[in-house]
């Protein structure tokens, strides 16, 4: 199994001073999978994402991506390998237009010596079309609505042509219909061959999306398996609902 895994995390541990944020996390993600990652606030979900993506350094354990040990690789190097993320709160490049926001990963992550050409412009248009922002390409991010900002965030993550996309709460704060929009988008991306790890609080979305559900509580993984079974797991219920 470990030979075919896209992402393999073994014994990952992260401390902030005396506080143990993550402890002995094991996680295997297979190519093409849709994995949901849930956990109460402060359970270490975002810390895990930051460790996987190289934003934070973890003290213990290994992370392998397509069989390759990621130790010592910086965030931008991991993006180039095909490990992309979107941010919990949209973090667009405020002084660049919507199209330019998507152009940056094309130039820097896809073509190592890329130039701005008609070809890259076409690719930008294609990506923006996919998320439904084609007519906003010349706008600045501050002119976008909240859901458009989320879509831009996903388009930018997809622009680096990832093998694995980690969507960190791409739907928080959106309305019912908007959640369905983003959900459909993520499923479409997955059908296009991208493995997706979704971090989410909206249970309806997570259960609809995930083929497998992983639960983090207080920095430990307490469940991993079929979503319907996991949510009935007594330990998970206790973590969410209390004793």
């Amino acid at each position: 199994m470990s030979d075919t895994a896209l992402l393999q995390v073994r014994g990952l541990g992260k401390r902030f001073g005396g506080f143990v944020a993550l402890e002995a996390i094991d996680l295997v993600v297979l190519p093409g999978e849709r994995v949901g990652l849930i956990g109460p606030n402060g359970s270490g979900k975002s810390t895990l994402v930051n460790c996987l993506c190289g934003t934070l350094r973890h003290e213990l354990g290994t992370v392998r991506f397509e069989g390759r040990d990621l130790a010592g690789l910086k965030a931008h190097e991991r993006t180039r390998l095909g490990l992309a993320r979107s941010f919990q709160l949209p973090r667009p490049f405020g002084s660049l237009t919507v199209a330019e926001n998507v152009l940056v990963p094309i130039l820097y992550a896809v073509q190592a010596r890329g130039h701005h050409t008609a070809e890259t412009d076409a690719r930008c248009a294609e990506l923006l079309g996919m998320v439904g922002l084609a007519d906003k390409s010349r706008k600045l991010p501050r002119d976008l609505t909240q859901i458009e900002m989320r879509k831009l965030e996903l388009a930018r993550a997809m622009a680096s042509e990832p093998r694995l996309l980690i969507a960190d709460e791409a739907m928080a704060g959106l309305s019912h219909g908007e959640v369905d929009d983003i959900l459909a988008l993520l499923i479409r991306m997955n059908e296009g061959g991208v493995t997706v790890i979704m971090i989410e609080h909206i249970m309806r979305a997570v259960l609809h999306f995930s083929q497998r559900l992983v639960v983090l509580v207080a920095g430990r993984k307490i469940a991993d398996g079929n979503p319907q079974e996991v949510v009935r797991n007594p330990e998970v219920e206790r973590a969410y609902l209390g004793e």
Binding site: C53, G54, T55, K74, A75, H76, E77, T79, R80, A84, R85, F87, R91, P92, F93, G94, S95, L96, E100, L103, V104, P105, L107, Y108, A109, V110, G114, H115, H116, R156, A157, A159, S160
Partner: protein
Amino acid sequence: MRTARFLPLILLVAALVFGVARAIDNSYVFFAGYVVLQYIVLAIAWNILGGYTGYVNFGTPAFLAIGAYASVALYKIVPLPIPLLMLIGGVLSGIVGLGTGYLTLRLRGAFFSIATLALSVVVQTLVTNWDFVGGSRGAYIIRPMAAPLIGGGYIDYLCLLMLLLVVLSVVIARAIEHSKLGYGFATIRDDEAAAEASGVPTLRLKLMATTLSGALMGMAGAPLPYYVTYLDPASGFSLTYAVNAIAMPLIGGTASWIGPILGAVILGTVQQLVTVTISSAANLLIVGLILVGFVIVAPNGIVGLVRGWRR
């Protein structure tokens, strides 16, 4: 417009400027013009780091003075042609820029700025205690009376070289803006974590910016001893350079290469006029007042103002 087509155009503009200055045939024009041109280079150089990547550098005097004092030191050993001195000053300041960047770019915002201010103090202390280049007494440079190659006063020659450095700076700044590098710099200014996540090697790009910015400042400083003929640490490391190098791009607009030029021409000219008509001490006061005015009326500088009208 590609750089290949832009270069002849800006060379033509530079030739016109120089031709008109020669036609006026008044040595004061060159005397004042040199200072304005020097500030254009400093403003463009500052803007490469401060405007494009958003790292505010207070260390302009250090980079300028490294170029200037390299010239003083070489003058004492073996006097070289000014273009060669500019090259040497550029290389030295570029190396210092790279080193400074490596040590300080982990700092963000005000902390980076404080570190660059400290750099200025450190270099000034070193030079003040370096007897070979005159220490705190300063150093005299005896420059030739006539200019080589072009004839006329020696200041004319220095002015021409500074004009060529302006051309070089403008071409570099403009090329960056329209390139992959320019987009990379902009993402660093906007959000470094998101830049990394988009595959932008932020540290390497920041080091490129500090090196390039420092090198241009060093090149601008190299002819300075020949211009003033007497250089001491107090004037070489004057805070005026730091303040002007920041104020000029802010007044002109940091988003585009033309902004620092506009700022430097306007502010530099006003300062020169004030120096001869009112008082040389009123210089910085003027900078302060204009800057306050612009922060209120046009926070994005003249370029921002014009773009606002066009919308």
